[in-house]
Point group: D2
Chain length 296, copies 4
């Protein structure tokens, strides 16, 4: 793998761990990297490296290291994936599903990684747009995990149609639906009863949330074809669409949310020996519980 020379750093927006960020920047410089860091009010006069805006990080860096939790990485991922900058996640708390480098082993791993010893993994990214009154409003929104359509002010069900390209799937009455990438299959979709999707799959899961019809089950479709969700009558229940659980917009009856695989993937960098299933085993406590009573 190619080595990295210009490395960016992104900390948590709120309460970044300044000691850890400083330690990381110092280590990268000792390894011969040029280091840039995203500007953050918490730095005061004393930033651990030259500060730049996120879009400049995207333009100039060959690798960006995100220090925080999975949420910090989701947020950075949506912004940096279009520029094709690979991301490495360092967790400042408990290991995450994606921020899989612990601070204790950070320096050891960095030495290998900046010299080209690492594993690279492309994660399918979702691209969504909203069409109202037959016109697509301009912006395309990206999501690393999921695009969620749900009722908001009440628990009344919303009604919507699902389509796979021009093929009608079904009508639904439910609290909503989670459209999840493989990466998002370990997030909200898992809580909603969806399956785990291996990241190498080019597939998207549709997971209904508390559906009225008991046979309205999660369905996995090919990532190549666009998914359309048409909002029908929502009675007194207003619907909203949320991207990675982080940004939301209100929907109206007739709105069409189209979700498709984004052209560009999110590239994650992992230390050598990375195993997706080891993270799952750890996070989901496979093997060690939680377990039903023994059947003896």
């Amino acid at each position: 793998m190619s080595p990295f020379r210009v490395v960016g750093v992104i900390g948590k927006r709120r309460e970044p761990n300044l000691d850890l960020l400083r330690d990381l920047c110092d280590g990268l410089r000792r390894l011969g990297c040029e280091v840039l860091i995203e500007a953050n009010g918490a730095f005061g006069r004393d930033a651990p490296a030259p500060t730049v805006a996120r879009d400049e990080l995207a333009r100039r860096c060959e690798l960006v290291i995100v220090v925080g939790g999975d949420g910090t990485l989701l947020d950075a991922g949506r912004d940096l994936a279009p520029a094709q900058v690979p991301l490495l996640g360092v967790n400042q708390g408990r290991l995450g599903f994606m921020t899989d480098v612990a601070p204790e082993s950070m320096h050891e791993h960095l030495a290998a990684i900046v010299h080209g010893q690492y594993e690279s993994e492309d994660r399918l990214l979702l691209s969504a747009s909203v069409e109202r009154n037959g016109r697509r409003d301009g912006a395309t929104r990206l999501a690393v995990n999921d695009v969620v359509i749900r009722n908001q002010a009440t628990i009344r069900m919303i009604e919507f149609e699902t389509w796979l390209d021009h093929e009608f799937i079904s009508n639904h009455r439910a609290d909503g639906v989670i459209v999840a990438s493989p990466t998002g299959s370990t997030a909200y979709a898992l809580s909603g009863g969806g399956p785990l999707l291996h990241p190498s799959l080019s597939a998207i899961a549709l997971v209904p949330i508390c559906p009225h019809t008991l046979s309205d089950r999660p369905i996995v479709v090919d990532g190549q074809r666009p998914i359309r969700i048409v909002i029908r009558g929502v009675d007194r229940a207003q619907a909203m669409v949320t991207f990675d659980g982080q940004t939301s917009e209100t929907l109206e009856p007739g709105d069409v949310v189209e979700v498709r695989r984004a052209e560009k993937a999110l590239r994650l960098i992992h230390p050598p020996g990375y195993s997706y299933f080891r993270i799952l085993r750890d996070k989901l406590r496979w093997g060690s519980g939680p377990a039903a009573q023994e059947r003896v």
Copy 2:
């Protein structure tokens, strides 16, 4: 069973079926009953029987017939159960779980029922109160189906503790929790993955909605002991509590929602030969699908 002489009628608040109501009132009078009907703007000058307010219906009637859907009956049930007036549900559309008399067979069943031939079934009713800053605000709310605590403006998880009387159950992070009576076990709780509870059980189900912890499973507890849900940090997600999906209030961190079995039950009247499971078989299409592919 004792016959009914003074019979009240409640129609749907919006778009009542005037012909059906008139037909019902006429039929009851022919059977020798005194008939009162809840006032409704849709009647104009021409109500099918003397109109009174709901509280007067509660005081004067020996039986109240609700014409509408399950939602109409839930609403009437919360108001009339405290007065111990039994309810009979006539469905004006497709048969409901509780409005189990069809208009076609209405007259035949009424003749039997008002003369004392019927089955009577008591349904556990939930009584809830909200405590803020250590003080219980005055009112007690009733629910026939469920008391639901859920996030509202966003899909961020809310955090809450559950207690069975003074015994701590667990901490939860989830979209919310459904506290369901046996009657409510066929409603929202069923969509959320909860079990069916036979109406003769004095039990209450706690069904977490999209819980973060995968082993956070539905739990059924004795209806005799109060359940307490303590709202903890909700971050930017505001929590709300909803009664029977019909009335809501906003909650704040620290609020305690206490749910217990109401002192009085809701008495439902059914035609002779009523079978709870027959309704389930019909509504859930047991036997005839929806079914997976045959295993041959």
Copy 3:
């Protein structure tokens, strides 16, 4: 609570922990108890207390301490509950759902318990019988956890009817059905998608195993009424009935398995301060995982 003077001990049938059993018997004698132990070939000439058969333990003891896992306690429970002897479980491995005393704290707890300081909890026990060709074969089988009806030699579905007393519930096509007590709701039934039932409930859960009809959901019924399962055509799939996962019998088409609440409960003794939910929190790892990715 009343103190215990004559105390019985039951170890695991295979590979009992002799040191632990000796230590337990010595401790009980120091506390002034008369100690009897179930005979076990592993003792050789050197049993830690006078050995007797299990039925004599049942007749003579005021308390029986079971040393092993939950399976050892299930087995002892079925045999001793009819004699109304309370049981205390000491786990020789990891803490169980019912064997909730650890060897390390055994002596401390025993001192309190034999002097009358303990909590006593009655667990509903299942009583089952099988009727063939209209005749009930003699024996009644007990189960602490569950009575399971399942296909055996193949994965073809079996067909059966369920009845609550004389009320028909439904026809089913499935791998089988788990009829679980509240105690068994944390065992096989939990793996099959059933709810947790608090032990104070007089209720029984019917949990279909891999049902063909997707709306065939777990149902909880009152423990007072007998449940009947009628085996219908099983094609080439032979059905069997299993009690607590430990003893099995083959079933034939037309056989009727009747399950009801046993007259006598299983009395469990716990150290003071026992909390059912604390055990659940520990075993199911509530609070600490296994958790989906954070929704940030």
Copy 4:
């Protein structure tokens, strides 16, 4: 699409519908096709077309029409897919997931289909082998729906490891595991809680059956990489492997079952206008129930 000139017919092995088969063969001949039919004892002296063995059908036919249920088609699919003969399913009872032509509309559809107007769909086929004592026994087994590993004589859990090629997934304790193709995702896997997989996906689902660990959830992996299931201790519970629910073999501890995408797919022929989701909507009764109580 290319027209079909030599058409084979396969009926149900037991109780074939002779009238329907005769009608079908006559119709095909009127359309100018040469017709061959699989030999069947039920024909007596009077077969509706020249009878041949199944392997000759595979060699000589350009299309084979299977008359029966989904099970008949599964059985024919395993035998004919290696020869790359496309199959068309005519249901002799209720419409199936795959036998999607009704007898009533058979002739109308056949006219179009044999002249080249049809839709063709390739379904991923599973190829499995069993390795014992480090040696693969000779035969490769095919499965259209699923390869299922399950306990047989008892309900004791079996233990097994899952691997994705050389990557370890996890240890499991469960009744078993269903390895399902997208076609099989509507069969046993659906009853076991698995997701629906669209047939265009090159993916395989692993669905644990009643797993001991509650976080042991269905996982979908890429069809390109072999899945290995290593049988570990099975205590007194014997494990077996079953192909499409139709043929079984007993497994021993240490056995390795390897499942991979077969080189050749099963080609299904559908009448013009075929919609996968329409079949799902019909079979799973999406839209019309079975539904929970209305949330009003």
